[in-house]
Assembly symmetry: C2
Homo-oligomer: 255 residues x 2
DNA sequence: GGCGCGGTCGTACGGCGTACGGCCTCGTTG
DNA sequence: CAACGAGGCCGTACGCCGTACGACCGCGCC
């Protein structure tokens, strides 16, 4: 924990890193390392083994250099993670989507979900202030552009995007937890519940929590597991879009 | 980092802790410590100084005992945090609310927001599987009970609750980040932006990201800060409830 | 009266992020 | 062409963290 907490005392240093303001070295043979190389292996490590496996020693090792060499290019781990995040945003597609706003917004939601599925560490890393890098800016600009013309105020458009992206992140986090748990315990979600259920029943007085038991059982049977993250994502997304459609329609009617 | 990752190999041990299955000691003078005392000071520390300040040494210190004494009552830090979470859920109100489902659900959302505001560390701790303690079960049962009768299937009711709680958590997290940043930098949100803006403009080519700039400026002026977490919460909540109302109405009509 | 056991906790280990200072290499300069 | 200095590299060390281990100690029980 704790790694992303630091508030990065010097804004200039962090921003310069994000925006890659750096005069190229005059040396003939360029240096062995670069911010890009570091970020690339760091993302690979985090993708494959999670944020906990991402240590500065590990990054140095993967690059074949000493641990402290990494610090020549990156002020600290928090800043490295920030650049990783901005880089990941950079790989998102930004197609021009045909169709109405709902189609476009739904597409944005699915693209963001896919991003989190490819880089689950982002769900645990983005705990501080947004990163303010070029790729995040481009993403924000693109996503706003898809819905600026739906008849809401600028402030409302911003809130609509925040709402949708928040839902995606919630759902992605839930899905990611299921995956994590399977990797760590070697059990599927269903197996995990089967192993815990007998113990739980030991403590539960029969008849306590009647609604929770009934609904929990129903959900478990429906999804073939205790929790269905895909269903939660789809159901929630459609509800959110329905809710947005209500204001959009209201606004169109009163014009 | 890393603290909540461990999958707690032994379910019986964790569950026994959560449900406080423990024969009272036969000793005349009870022991100096107890799970409850430990949990209480741990929550106080986390409330006051955040999850990062919560270390096992710190807990022992606050209790006036050696660090390792804490381990007599709690298998490890991850389990301690789990009990803290379940305990926090236990303090939530569970009133019988008059009115329609929307009133009840809105109340649930606000109560959950208040919980996260009182215990912001929960937003960073709940990264693993739900805790399965008695208070979480009671909370789940109560919240489901408020909406079981709205004419949806059990599975849908579960998804509705997940959606609303997910929105609350997203909004609470965003609000908490603003507060954190103010505490760490001693700047308000507005001041922080003012100190970063000149640097950012150095890198930005004029005319790049036109939509983002316009919307960002509008949002900033509206909220008197770069980001308005309260507005985002309210706007999103109404959209989500509107969206739920759409399915509820559909279902009522087709019956 | 002796024993055992539960509570207490000092010490130590392996891991983390990273400050510091030395070294080595190479383009630049007199 | 030789001396210099800056920039890249990195070994060592420090102060944190969670926690394994084993010793001590005082009480209830046979």
């Amino acid at each position: 924990m704790a790694s992303e907490r630091k508030a990065t005392a010097d804004p200039a240093r962090s921003l310069a890193l994000l925006w890659r303001t750096r005069e190229p070295t005059s040396r003939s043979a360029g240096p062995a390392l670069s911010v890009d190389r570091i970020v690339r292996v760091a993302i690979d490590i985090a993708d494959a083994e999670g944020l906990d496996a991402l240590t500065m020693r590990r990054v140095g090792e993967a690059l074949g250099v000493g641990t402290m060499s990494v610090y020549t290019y990156v002020p600290g781990k928090a800043e490295l993670v920030a650049v990783m995040i901005d880089t990941a945003y950079g790989e998102m597609p930004r197609p021009v989507v045909e169709g109405d706003w709902r189609t476009r917004l739904e597409r944005i939601a699915r693209d963001n979900l896919a991003l989190y599925q490819r880089h689950p560490w982002m769900l645990r890393a983005e705990t501080t202030r947004p990163v303010l890098g070029p790729h995040l800016m481009a993403k924000y600009d693109y996503e706003l552009g898809a819905i600026v013309d739906i008849g809401l105020t600028d402030v409302e458009v911003d809130a609509v995007l925040t709402l949708v992206l928040g839902h995606v992140k919630s759902a992605a986090r839930a899905a990611s937890e299921v995956v994590d748990l399977e990797r760590e315990t070697g059990m599927t979600d269903g197996q995990w519940w089967q192993s815990h259920a007998p113990w739980l029943e030991t403590f539960l007085k029969p008849g306590a929590y009647p609604t929770a038991s009934r609904v929990g059982t129903a959900a478990g049977q429906q999804h073939g597991a205790a929790y269905g993250p895909e269903y939660a994502f789809e159901f929630g997304l459609q509800r959110v879009l329905d809710g947005i459609a209500v204001v959009v329609a209201e606004r169109a009617a009163s014009r």
